[in-house]
């Protein structure tokens, strides 16, 4: 399938064969740009008009990409269901949820049955709630109830848990399995997270650059990956048991551009095991003897690549937090968001309650918690972007402003300015001659080509955006770097790259770091000390291995239990 946009062809999918059997859960894994969402949409017959489709997508015996609109509607109603990433935008905000489910379900009894089936407590009362009155997890359950109402043969779930907290994610994933067992519907679970796919799926399909890289039964594929990309995803994923002394093994390079159409294997430019044959000839899907799945690699070099990557991953130097100047001291910090009166009444909300925190110079702290725990508010107060209600934040050192890396690196750049303009802004106080030097120095340090300075952020790939955001933060090394969920939306290999970068930069430049995350595994790797927050309070604090191995607080234990893990035999 090819998209045509702005007069150019963008190859979103380049010839994908995938069969989903009745009652099967298939995990569709790939990084952003791999074509996984497009594949999901094409099965729903929801592609935009600019898409040029070659090949067929057969749902229940009908090619949905070429069917007439009434036919497609009939198919969607009778055979398909969909769950998208953000339930707030896919539910109608002006309609009570009871009615929204009723539209498909047909009777109130059926609505109640469905809501109970997806685990929404309080049945009858909930019918009159509007979507905004529900939590994220409940909204996603409503979406699932709607998707199931038409008794579909196939449910397509596009990143259904990415926007949810980890504990809720675990519940929703379990729900998917139960729905399959009870309703017998097949599920296509589209996700960037290998661990999510491996916890629920029967089969896994790895997409890379619009092509199937590997497909097969979950356990065998992950134990003996045939394709180097699958292997790279496996080795670079962030595990609770990972060795903290080593850097994470990562695969270098950028994903294949959708505007190009390489003749050979589209993973070859990044593949450590690539040979001239790989560049000339595109490999076909062939059976991997070790596991019985299919992989598109001439050599089925997955396991070799995995071993190679782990070998080259370097050791970390010591991280040296030193007491004294340059840290930050937070005392009895509280932030209360006042409620509203009148028509849109809301209660006041205490985001932070008397928080005390000391960060030494050069120390790395991870703050772990779920949404609403106050972790982001804490960052914003330290950054000076949010005024505290009471308490104090004292920045040590020369009073340099802390820098911040945002969750979505792309949105932290002003869209109409070039990356270079953002970088120069940070060094505007230096003499002209030095400014240019500093910009090229920082681009070099982060492994970015010089052209990036002339590009706007929309023109960069996901990995380049992350690097550019880091470049902006460290062009003048700050005393303190604040990271707000910098890896939560990235696929495994990119997340590992960013964690490696942060670790390297902080050792080279000696800044302290506060790393906010919901992911204990990532926190354990980057931090000298972990802080667990919930309800605006710090509930646990300690060295990473202590917190992870011997959590004392029940909340930390719950967080740990819900970290999705790739279960392999090894």
């Amino acid at each position: 399938m090819t998209f045509s946009r702005d007069g150019r062809d963008l190859h979103a999918l380049r010839g994908v064969d995938l069969r989903i059997a009745a009652g099967e859960i298939v995990g569709l894994v790939g990084e952003s740009g791999s074509g996984k969402t497009v594949l999901g949409l094409s099965m729903l017959g929801l592609l935009p008009k600019s898409a040029r489709v070659e090949g067929v997508v057969t749902v229940d015996g009908v090619d949905i990409t070429r069917a007439s609109e009434p036919m497609r509607r009939k198919l969607r109603r009778s055979a398909l269901g969909a769950v998208f990433q953000d339930p707030m935008t896919s539910l109608d905000p002006t309609m009570r949820i009871g009615r929204q489910v009723h539209e498909v379900a047909g009777s109130t009894a059926e609505v109640l049955r469905l809501l109970a089936a997806v685990g929404i407590p309080g049945g009858q009362r909930r019918l009159r709630d509007f979507p905004h009155e529900l939590s994220g997890g409940l909204r996603q359950r409503v979406m699932l109830a709607i998707a199931l109402a038409g008794k579909p043969k196939l449910v397509i779930a596009d990143e259904p848990t990415t926007a949810l907290d980890v504990t809720v994610q675990a519940q929703v994933l379990t729900l998917f399995r139960r729905m399959r067992d009870e309703h017998g519907c097949a599920i296509l679970l589209v996700t960037h997270d290998l661990a999510v796919a491996s916890t629920v799926a029967d089969r896994i399909c790895v997409l890379y650059g619009g092509l199937v890289a590997e497909v097969g039964q979950v356990r065998p594929v992950l134990d003996h990956p045939g394709h180097p990309y699958t292997a790279a995803l496996m080795t670079s994923r962030i595990r609770l048991q990972a060795d903290r002394r080593h850097q994470l093994p990562v695969i270098a390079g950028e994903p294949v551009q959708p505007s190009t159409d390489p003749a050979g294997c589209n993973f070859a430019p990044r593949c450590p095991a690539a040979t001239p044959l790989c560049v000339e000839k595109r490999p076909l899907l062939t059976v991997v003897p070790a596991q019985g799945g299919l992989a598109a690699c001439h050599y089925h070099a997955g396991e070799d690549v995995a071993r190679g990557l782990s070998r080259v991953a370097g050791l970390w130097g010591p991280s040296v937090p030193t007491a004294g100047d340059g840290g930050v001291t937070v005392r009895r910090l509280s932030v209360r968001f006042p409620g509203r009166r009148g028509l849109r009444r809301s209660e006041p909300f205490d985001a932070l309650r008397e928080v005390d925190l000391d960060v030494n110079r050069g120390e790395s702290i991870a703050v772990v918690g779920e949404s609403g725990s106050g972790k982001t508010t804490l960052l914003r107060v330290i950054a000076g972007l949010q005024a505290p209600t009471s308490g104090s934040v004292v920045l040590g050192g020369a009073g340099r402003m802390p820098q911040m890396v945002f969750q979505d690196a792309g949105s932290s750049f002003t869209p109409w300015l070039t990356v270079g303009q953002h970088l120069y802004e940070r060094v505007a106080h230096l003499p002209m001659a030095t400014q240019g030097e500093r910009v090229s120095e920082v681009l070099n340090r982060l492994g970015l080509p010089a052209e990036v300075a002339r590009a706007r952020v929309q023109q960069l790939s996901g990995g380049q955006r992350q690097r550019a955001a880091l470049a902006r933060a460290v062009i003048e090394p700050p005393d303190l770097l604040l990271c707000d969920e910098p890896i939560s939306a990235l696929d495994a290999s990119l997340a590992a790259t960013v964690l490696n970068l942060l670790g390297r930069l902080r050792r080279e430049l000696g800044f302290g770091m506060i790393f906010v995350s919901h992911d204990l595994a990532a926190a354990r790797l980057v931090a000298d000390r972990i802080i667990v927050m919930t309800g605006g309070r710090i509930v646990e604090e300690g060295p990473p291995d202590n917190v992870v191995d011997h959590p004392s607080n029940p909340y930390t234990q719950a967080l740990l239990a819900s970290v999705p893990q790739v279960s392999t035999c090894r």
Binding site: D6, G33, T37, V38, P48, M401, Q403, M404, P415, H422
Partner: protein, 290 residues
């Protein structure tokens, strides 16, 4: 739109030159809208160049009440002035007055909206209540009042309209700035230590320009009609000067004897307004594709 994000993570537009990009954008604009843009540009060019190829509109060039002929393309009026020349000059005046009102509205309204949106708090409240006060004034009535106070002239009519026009732009720009200000890139810029002025003019204002251009292009049509209407009821330049509304009013008496006298300026207003409207739609399509 998830599809866009997925198919173009790379360099959308990076490898295209300006002409290709322009061509690709224009493809999203309908035929009628393109005709509108072309007609509008043509009318603009002709009327700006009017002094070069038509006679002076206020002198008598021949006998009165002449029907259209090769010599006088649209005939002559009750005092023997060439109607074609007067219509050309009239369109020129209409255009320039409309542009003058919009330009002043963008500058004044844009600045007030920018400051109100970027600063927030009591500055915002103060500026917006001021804006509301002006919004409450009925446009044509104020124009009449200004004309009554300062004398009827084109300049005073334009001032009268401009006074009530800017609040719309102030509201529009403020709204855009408010929504931009909540985006992470503004926080990021603040942390980069940029000055308040730079934050407003480099990181906020450019984001509000597209909707302002779209509104402005749709406003031209309304202004052309408003100005013609005010001039029709006698609020505009005094008698001999060529103004479409005044010409139509003066010629209304001879509608049945010499229909070309009122119809020519009337049709000119009509064509100008339709072309401006279509062009405005076209420009909106251009930016919405954005």
């Amino acid at each position: 739109m998830p599809v866009r994000g997925v198919v173009s993570p790379g360099s959308a537009g990076a490898s295209m030159n300006a002409t290709q990009r322009y061509g690709a954008r224009m493809r999203g604009v309908g035929v009628l809208e393109r005709v509108g843009i072309v007609v509008l540009l043509l009318l603009l060019a002709i009327s700006l160049a009017a002094p070069l190829f038509v006679t002076d509109p206020v002198i008598s060039v021949g006998p009165a009440f002449q029907p259209p002929s090769l010599q006088h393309l649209l005939g002559t009026d009750d005092v023997g002035q060439d109607i074609f020349a007067r219509v050309m000059y009239g369109m020129r005046t209409s255009w320039l007055s409309a542009v003058a009102v919009i330009a002043s509205a963008i500058v004044v309204g844009g600045l007030i909206g920018l400051v109100a949106g970027a600063r927030g708090g009591w500055v915002d409240s103060l500026l917006m209540r001021l804006t509301d006060t002006f919004l409450a004034l009925p446009g044509p009535v104020l124009a009449i009042a200004v004309a009554a106070a300062l004398g009827a002239s084109l300049r005073n009519t334009v001032i009268g309209i401009a006074v009530v026009w800017w609040p719309w732009y102030a509201r529009l720009v403020r709204g855009e700035i408010r929504s931009l200000a909540a985006r992470p890139h503004v926080d990021a810029a603040r942390l980069s230590g940029v000055s308040r002025g730079r934050l407003m003019f480099r990181h906020l204002l450019p984001g509000a320009i597209p909707p302002v251009i779209v509104t402005a292009s749709l406003d031209i049509q309304i202004l052309v009609l408003t100005l013609a209407g005010l001039s029709f009821i006698g609020l505009g330049a005094p008698a001999p000067s060529p103004e479409l509304g005044a010409m139509a009013a003066r010629g209304a008496d001879s509608l049945f004897t010499s229909p070309w006298i009122p119809l020519a300026p009337g049709c000119a207003v009509f064509i100008l307004a339709v072309a401006a409207n279509l062009a405005g739609d076209g420009i909106r399509d251009l930016f919405d594709r954005g």
